[in-house]
């Protein structure tokens, strides 16, 4: 009896992963087929980084600004997170499109489990974010930026980008399930963009004042960006690596759970 149970759960797990991989492939292919809409998400953060570098050079002399050779060094984590913010909500937009055109109903009527339907899409976006992070870091290195923590820091930065996609993508999926509208999901993109500005991404919290400073300090993105930045400009630290990845992993688990619950609620299942 136990053997039968074990075999059954083994099959379930196998199916779960194979379904997730197939749906992740579908998501990735969908993204790559629309390269014209994927590229801006890579080019814009780079453009913004180089613009800010030319714009804020005088800021480096302000008391309280971290010691860096160039504003570009300071901006690397922010640029990666901004790139993520561009592509992450695509999984929600695609889900809303599937709901609008009825594909979601057909998918749910098939023997596919509910969780891979959600995770598969986000996994495809996460993989793409990892590739884009590699490109961004290479461009920064060519432009003269430094990664003080070396290859280990680069790996942490890449994993952070992938996990952040899971968090933002999961949130956009919750919105897609609740609203069923691409327009609504697309309209929230600027909000994520602003969340980055309300953090320490572009300016250190030491140079902020009043309630905004406190808001930025309580923004979870600051908790992720600050350790990532120290890895980039100071050097390797286990504490910084674990902090950045730990927060994002916790967020990913919570949001994925939330999106599964929202889908079950929508379908009238306990």
């Amino acid at each position: 009896m136990n053997k039968v149970d074990t075999a059954a759960s083994s099959t379930v797990i196998k199916n779960f992963f194979s379904q997730t991989i197939v749906l992740a492939q579908r998501s990735l292919v969908s993204e790559l087929r629309q390269l014209a809409t994927v590229l801006p998400g890579l080019l814009f953060p780079l453009l913004l980084a180089f613009t800010y570098t030319e714009q804020f050079e005088r800021v480096l002399s302000l008391p309280g600004f971290p010691e860096v050779d160039s504003f570009l060094d300071f901006l690397l984590p922010a640029t990666v997170l901004q790139m993520v913010s561009f592509g992450a909500s695509n999984s929600g937009t695609e889900l809303a499109l599937d709901i609008e055109n009825g594909f979601m109903d057909r998918l749910l009527a098939s023997p596919v489990a509910r969780v891979p339907v959600l995770i598969g899409r986000v996994a495809g976006s996460a993989l793409l974010a990892g590739i884009k992070t590699v490109i961004i870091v290479l461009v920064f290195l060519i432009a003269g930026a430094q990664v003080s923590s070396g290859f280990a820091g680069f790996v942490v930065l890449t994993l952070s980008a992938c996990l952040l996609v899971v968090v933002i993508g999961g949130l956009s999926q919750i919105l897609a399930i609740r609203s069923g509208s691409q327009e609504v999901v697309g309209a929230t993109f600027p909000l994520i963009f602003v969340m980055i500005f309300m953090s320490s991404a572009f300016f250190p919290t030491e140079l902020m004042s009043g309630w905004f400073k406190r808001l930025a300090e309580f923004n979870p993105l600051t908790w992720v960006i600050d350790p990532l930045r120290r890895l980039m400009i100071v050097g390797w630290s286990w504490s910084d690596a674990v902090t950045a990845l730990g927060i994002l992993l916790l967020g990913a688990v919570l949001v994925t759970g939330g999106s599964v619950l929202t889908l079950n609620k929508k379908l009238g299942r306990p």
Partner: protein, 265 residues
């Protein structure tokens, strides 16, 4: 005589279609509060973000204003109007995806009335962020040395900016018929705004950015909209803005109308 009467009637119908499209667009926004999020709250949050994050810029000698709200409020209001323009065309993209736009094309009158109605919605939508930004900036400590004329000038600039970006977005949407294609316009919009005197004066910029911002048409738009918030309204800062608005609206209209005319042909 009969042709003239028909022509007058047709143009009347076209105007009524434009107004109907406009009314539908406004009701659509009011009936779906989630769509108000990027239009009103987003620019307000951007104002708070930029003034909060970059407030220390005023400590640097040579910055354009001692009050960060005077510098950032017009910039953010104009960015909000760009969102209003782009999201105005997002509704059209959704109409394509649901098939409603095909039915709209079957209505009597010229296609330009659909275009006009959508642009009008965007211009009206642009007033939401402008009012929101000015109110929040006043609460935050905006000086507003130019008084009511400064606000009216900003409102006019916002409406014109929304119509420009709505037209360019429609040129894309009529061609690709998807919301995702608007990412291209968003990129152009953000780029044109960031490579300008939005956050810092021209003197702060170095290298290639200094030259780009100097010749970026959006710089003149910002000077036009911001002048009442800094030193008062002058003709020298007004006419270059008018030229940019006129040229951009004409080019946008031509591109959007050409894309619209090609649908189904």
């Amino acid at each position: 005589m009969t042709t003239q009467t028909f022509s007058k009637a047709a143009s009347g119908v076209s105007l009524s279609i434009a107004m109907a499209v406009c009314r539908r667009g406004v009701l659509r926004v009011l009936s779906r509060p989630t769509l108000l999020l990027p239009i009103v709250f987003m620019p307000v949050i951007m104002l708070i973000s930029f003034t909060g994050a970059f407030g220390s810029l005023t400590r640097i000698e040579g910055y354009g204003s001692e009050n960060i709200y005077d510098w950032m409020a017009p910039y953010v209001a104009l960015q909000g109007s760009v969102f209003a323009g782009v999201f105005g065309s997002a509704s059209t993209a959704e109409d394509f995806e649901t098939g409603f736009f095909d039915r709209l094309l079957l209505t009597p009158g010229s296609r330009s009335s659909i275009l006009l109605g959508t642009v009008l919605v965007s211009a009206i939508r642009s007033l939401f962020p402008t009012v929101g930004v000015v109110v929040v900036a006043l609460l935050g400590g905006l000086n507003l040395s130019g008084g009511l004329p400064a606000i009216l000038l900003l409102a006019a600039a916002s409406a014109l900016m929304a119509s420009v970006f709505c037209l360019f977005s429609l040129a894309i949407v009529y061609r690709f018929k998807t919301i995702r294609s608007l990412m291209i316009v968003q990129l152009v919009a953000f780029t044109s705004f960031f490579m300008t005197i939005g956050q810092v004066p021209l003197e702060f910029m170095t290298g290639w950015l200094h030259q780009v911002a100097r010749f970026n048409p959006t710089t003149n738009v910002l000077r036009f909209a911001r002048q009442g918030f800094l030193d008062g309204i002058t003709w020298d800062l007004t006419w270059p803005g008018i030229v940019v608005f006129a040229a951009a609206n004409i080019v946008g209209s031509v591109l959007a109308f050409r894309s619209l005319r090609r649908i189904g042909s």
